[in-house]
């Protein structure tokens, strides 16, 4: 009987700690996703400026270089662009993506779609600069949130777990 109780208490403690770790990792993943997105958009900017390659090819090329969730997003956008307008493909894929980003992050990224592929070079670069500037701010905020919340949620998970265990004992 004591053995069963010990297992239940361990499970409660483990679950609580895992929830804490999961909540903490959300902050880390968001910061990483935003950094990867910034890197991908920087590559896109350089490629547009110097190679004049077409957007569908560039998105597929970047998807190979970046990998992860952002790479998958670029692959989907590049593929969908062959059938629909670039802006629509971008906005739809951002909306459906698995990126761990906030609603505000998504909305700002979607704004790139308004002019994607439909203006001259200057228009494309200006739009990319705007989104990149926004990403800089968001990355800064995400890193600060990560610093502040990551350890807190991990510790909170453990403490709550311990508290429940103590009460149950």
């Amino acid at each position: 009987m004591i053995f069963v109780k010990f297992i239940i208490l361990a499970a409660v403690f483990g679950t609580s700690s895992l929830i804490g770790i999961k909540l903490a990792s959300g902050y880390k993943v968001r910061a990483n996703n935003l950094k990867q997105m910034k890197k991908a958009l920087k590559i896109l900017e350089a490629k547009i400026t110097y190679t004049y390659d077409k957007l569908p090819d560039l998105f597929l090329e970047i998807s190979n270089k970046i990998g992860g969730d952002v790479g998958n997003l670029f692959f989907d956008v590049g593929r969908n662009m062959q059938l629909e307008f670039a802006g629509e493909a971008w906005e739809q894929c951002i909306e459906k993506s698995n990126l761990s980003i906030t609603h505000d992050d998504k909305e700002a990224l979607k704004s790139l779609g308004k002019l994607l592929g439909s203006t001259n070079m200057q228009g494309q670069l200006e739009q990319l600069h705007l989104v990149n500037d926004f990403l800089d701010e968001q990355i800064k905020e995400a890193v600060e949130s990560k610093k502040k919340n990551e350890t807190m949620y991990k510790k909170l998970g453990v403490i709550v777990g311990l508290a429940v265990v103590i009460v149950l004992i």
Binding site: I48, Y52, D53, K54, L55, P56, M81, F85, A86, L116, G117, S118, T119, N120, M121, G123, Q124
Partner: protein
């Protein structure tokens, strides 16, 4: 043609497909106006009114979602499409430092469908060939736009490159300077129009640069290019003729008087760089109206 259809709104495609698409020469699209099809001498009003947003969408699709990549062509007023087709663009022209930098707010498109017509040069080629020396005369083919000059020089390129056994004309090395990609329709190293087995193609390059490159690197016996009449053309044509290469070019105009009003072409004629000027009939495609020997 499939690529062009893919770029158009679905409703418009349905309207176009009601007609014989193989005979379409031009699709005229204007904002707020009905789309017109030109099929030779027949014009068909599709009664499908298109708006400016749809026109921007068409251009974006034609540019493969990358209008910036076609900036240089748009500044010249056209986009070359896969298959050698061309979409002329008109609208608000943006000028900066005296140069065209963009066409914003596109008002209209003229999509010209390129056709490879077998033996299109039947009537013209006899005026071009120099059978005695197994080459071509330095020739200028002249007509107003839309009379088939490009189709003719494409066919001439193919025939002189492959050789014409009927008259014992042996194939010669030809180089096409395809400034707008309309003659050979070269895309990713593949020529979608048949321009002959001994033909080299320099695509998307100004004539003034391409002709020099061709002579230095490809040793052509004949050079073919479309639409001369720019400032740089006199020097480069002079260079080509002086290098012993035979030239076949085209120019816009309907008669000799029209032609010499263009200062650059007038200079070329005065220098006697061309042996023949062939004027095409404006009503019957491929038919010679008259020939002037210089």
């Amino acid at each position: 043609m499939n690529f062009i259809l893919k770029c158009l709104p679905k409703d418009l495609i349905t309207q176009i497909l009601k007609h014989n698409i193989n005979r379409i020469e031009e699709i005229r699209i204007r904002s707020g106006k009905p789309v017109l099809l030109n099929m030779g001498n027949i014009e068909i009003n599709l009664k499908y009114v298109i708006n400016s947003n749809q026109i921007v969408g068409i251009v974006q699709s034609m540019c493969n979602n990358s209008i910036y990549a076609y900036q240089n062509e748009i500044m010249e007023g056209y986009i070359t499409l896969p298959g050698g087709h061309r979409a002329g663009i008109a609208g608000n022209v943006v000028i900066s430092d005296g140069k065209v930098t963009n066409i914003s707010h596109i008002y209209s498109l003229n999509i010209r469908i390129a056709h490879q017509v077998e033996n299109a040069s039947d009537d013209v080629i006899r005026h071009i060939l120099d059978t005695q020396n197994n080459t071509i005369h330095n020739t200028l083919i002249v007509s107003p736009p839309g009379c088939g000059k490009t189709t003719i020089i494409r066919d001439v390129a193919k025939r002189i490159s492959n050789g014409i056994p009927e008259i014992n004309f042996k194939g010669i090395n030809v180089c096409i300077i395809d400034e707008r990609g309309e003659i050979a329709a070269l895309d990713k190293g593949i020529a979608y129009n048949d321009v002959g087995i001994r033909t080299d193609i320099l695509d998307n390059v100004p004539k003034s640069v391409g002709i020099r490159m061709a002579i230095r690197s490809m040793a052509p016996k004949a050079i073919i290019a479309d639409e001369i009449g720019n400032r740089d053309d006199v020097d480069i044509i002079n260079y080509a003729v002086c290098s012993g290469v035979s030239c076949l070019f085209t120019a816009h105009g309907s008669c000799f008087e029209d032609l010499v009003k263009n200062n650059e072409i007038s200079k070329i004629i005065n220098l006697k760089l061309f042996k023949r000027i062939v004027f095409l009939d404006e009503k019957i495609k491929g038919k010679v109206k008259n020939v002037i020997n210089i």
